[in-house]
Symmetry: C2
Subunit: 68 residues, 2 copies
């Protein structure tokens, strides 16, 4: 629950809004994006296994994103 | 479109699935999460301005997440 660097999240918010960001805002978004990433990864892993593979590929991720 | 370090995305996928991840899979997920982050940030910035503030706060992010 702390893989995404806050500095990166801060830059994403500042770049896309042009305004300042509180540290707690960056943390809040970071937690959400990390959970979202885990959820998508778990769905993608189901597709990998279904296809008889032991590696998650970009195709698995795309399928997981479509299924949302 | 390249703020989130691929190594972090790779760890999120491996930790939550326990299986290997292709580099293209990590890239695919990274692009999605970054776009998602930008979309949420832009919505949060609308709420900041509406509240007469010049800083995005965690409350703005939470409201933007609810509105999804």
């Amino acid at each position: 629950m702390s893989e995404l660097p806050l500095a990166a999240i801060d830059r994403i918010i500042r770049k896309s809004t042009g305004i300042r960001v509180s540290e707690s805002a960056a943390k809040e978004l970071s937690v959400f994006l990390e959970e979202e990433g885990m959820r998508i990864a778990q769905q993608a892993a189901v597709f990998s296994k279904h296809a008889g593979r032991k590696t998650v590929t970009d195709e698995d991720i795309r399928l997981a994103l479509k299924k949302q």
